[in-house]
């Protein structure tokens, strides 16, 4: 069954109207070197039955490993009601609610979402969401350059403690629009950004400083001092935050004496399963003074002709369907379904529930660090407080250790050697409220065994160890 409504005659007529002979001709400007042709390993077609069988076979090979990897996506308990409600047809099939008279339910839900996220981040206004945390950082950077009218530069200071994916995506999305991201080094004892690293930028024109809290290493940055430094030097502050952590940490709106200007983050921890990396959603909140530079959709509450309250998209005048190339963004959309799940999750948890999730995650992470650092040769890489993940290090490459753990059904953390080679053998571990003391014992026991085995193996094969 064809789901494309255009008949071959329709297509011919449309092509003739614009003077093009084939659909292929529309893509002629893409150089052959950039074309993929066919996708390797992907058959041209499969029936529904064949697809179902293939996917269930592949799903079985995933197993159910015990996961201690965080690094931007976090395993939290999701109450069953969240996805039972989210997958109702009324939510499941809804697209961008441009037509207010037919979309009051979706619009109200997004309005509630915006209210909750603005409240969680301590900011005044939220958009209806973005693709994911990384693209939210890119959008916030572009927004900060537009919003900082005192700065003529397009320079954004980005500490190396910001998630490497966020830094790469922001550079990929915004560098061609003239933005320059400059890396600020971190203190290797503390695993955090220290004031001294910013000193060289004192008398320079900087549009914004990006601060991730907790940072990629799980460590807490001195957000008050960093925020005040940025504002004293004419730069705006973009906060990248974990929404769960905000139940126990100071929200970006209260950082320093004036608060951050824009807060963004990955929304996945709020009721969205890990699902191999996506789809997730990003959030973006700001202060009212910057609302017109905020990308994306915003739902507002209003009154209809009869004076009844209702909801509608608002502040659309700078969106791409109106302002085309000069829109605040042409690479953003909202993630309606994921936001639906997050809104239901936040409603079920409430402020008290979120705080319990955050506190339990912190306690489990401390328990994990304490159990693992009791093993000889394993130590905590950085001094100072962390939220629910931490960097551990040892005197050898960690990839073989993590592989050996994976073969025992334990995902032991993220090897940092590629993004942070200066740390030597180091890996990032995470524990949330989903991990029990037994899980942590199982990891610690397995790691102890694996370390002994890998040591023995390397002694037996000295040639390969060198």
């Amino acid at each position: 069954m064809a789901f494309i409504p255009h008949t071959p005659a329709d297509v011919r007529e449309m092509l003739a109207a614009i003077g093009v002979s084939s659909i292929e001709q529309l893509f002629e400007e893409i150089p052959p070197a950039l074309r993929v042709g066919t996708l390797r390993g992907v058959p041209s077609q499969l029936s529904e039955m064949e697809i179902g069988r293939l996917m269930s076979e592949r799903a079985r090979t995933d197993g159910r490993p015990l996961c201690f990897i965080g690094a931007g996506a976090y395993e939290h308990h999701i109450p069953a009601a969240v996805w039972a409600l989210t997958t109702r047809g009324e939510f499941y099939s809804a697209y961008t609610p441009y037509q207010a008279e037919a979309s009051q339910g979706t619009l109200q839900l997004i309005y509630e979402y915006q209210t909750m996220i603005a409240s969680l981040t301590g900011m005044e206004v939220s958009n209806a969401s973005l693709y994911d945390g990384a693209s939210a950082v890119a959008e916030a950077s572009l927004m900060a350059v537009r919003a900082n009218r005192k700065s003529k530069s397009q320079r954004i200071l980005v500490p190396a403690t910001v998630h490497p994916h966020y830094r790469k995506v922001a550079a990929a999305a915004a560098s061609n629009q003239g933005l320059r991201f400059e890396e600020v080094p971190y203190c290797t004892q503390q695993g955090a950004t220290i004031g001294g690293a910013l000193a060289r930028y004192e008398n320079q024109d900087i549009a914004a400083l990006l601060i991730q809290q907790p940072n990629f290493f799980g460590r807490l940055e001195d957000v008050d001092a960093l925020t005040d430094w940025a504002h004293a030097h004419g730069a705006l502050v973009i906060a990248a935050v974990n929404p769960i952590s905000l139940a126990v940490l100071k929200p970006p709106g209260e950082w320093g004496s004036r608060g951050a200007d824009i807060a963004v983050g990955e929304g996945q921890p709020l009721g969205v399963p890990l699902s191999s990396g996506g789809p997730y959603f990003g959030f973006l909140t700001t202060r009212m003074e910057h609302v017109r530079q905020m990308p994306g959709r915003i739902v507002g509450r209003t009154l209809d002709l009869a004076g009844r309250p209702g909801f509608t998209l608002t502040l659309q005048a700078r969106e791409q369907h109106i302002r085309r190339a000069r829109a605040t963004s042409n690479i953003c959309t909202n993630q309606g379904l994921l936001v639906t799940a997050a809104t239901i999750y936040m409603s079920l948890m409430g402020p008290e529930g979120l705080e319990r999730v955050a506190s339990a995650s912190h306690a489990r992470a401390r328990e994990l660090v304490s159990a693992l650092t009791r093993i000889g040769g394993v130590r905590l890489a950085f001094e100072g407080p962390y939220f629910h993940e931490a960097v551990l290090c040892c005197d050898r490459p960690v990839a073989p250790l993590l592989e050996a753990l994976a073969s025992r059904g334990i995902l032991g953390g993220l090897d940092l050697s590629e993004d942070y080679p200066e740390l030597g053998g180091a890996w990032l571990v995470c524990a949330t409220e989903t991990k029990t003391s037994e899980d942590i014992d199982r990891y610690a026991t397995a790691l102890g065994e694996v370390m002994r085995e890998v040591t023995l193996a390397s002694r037996e094969r000295p040639a390969t160890a060198a």
């Binding site: 009218r149 005192k150 017109r292 005048a317 700078r318 109106i322 302002r323 000069r326």
Partner: protein, 131 residues
């Protein structure tokens, strides 16, 4: 038919210019432009001290329907934006040639103003556009 005061200069992108006694030039959008945009909800004016090339976008007027750019009609330096518009964007609708001015600028070259459209030229331009 929209109002076109005889003593001002105009552009085809619907800005007007008035030469002030101190030699500065006051710039706004025409009655025709404000009418076409509808009720304005926000006006973004340039910062004082900004230098503008002729044709450069320098302000944004936002109605409930669209956000539109305003172009600098001449090369100039911005002396100041109209502070009243921050809280009262509707002044552009109510009084486009008076209280609704957008910015005051120091022209690079006074002759550049005289080279723009006269009121009569602009009136014929609007007629040709099929107002």
């Amino acid at each position: 038919m929209s109002h076109v005061p005889p003593d001002l200069h105009y552009t085809k992108t619907h800005e007007w210019l008035r030469t002030l006694p101190d030699g500065n030039i006051e710039i706004g959008i025409t009655d025709h432009a404000q009418h076409a945009l509808g009720d304005l909800v926000f006006v973004e004016v340039p910062q004082a001290g900004r230098t503008l090339k002729a044709g450069e976008t320098c302000a944004v007027v936002e109605s409930v329907k669209a956000a539109s750019d305003v172009y600098a009609p001449i090369a100039c330096t911005v002396a100041g934006g109209n502070p009243r518009l921050a809280n009262e964007p509707e002044a552009v609708n109510n009084d486009p040639y008076g209280a609704g001015w957008l910015m005051r600028v120091r022209p690079e070259n006074l002759a550049s103003v005289a080279a723009l459209l006269s009121a009569a030229d602009y009136t014929s331009f609007l007629a040709a556009e099929g107002e």
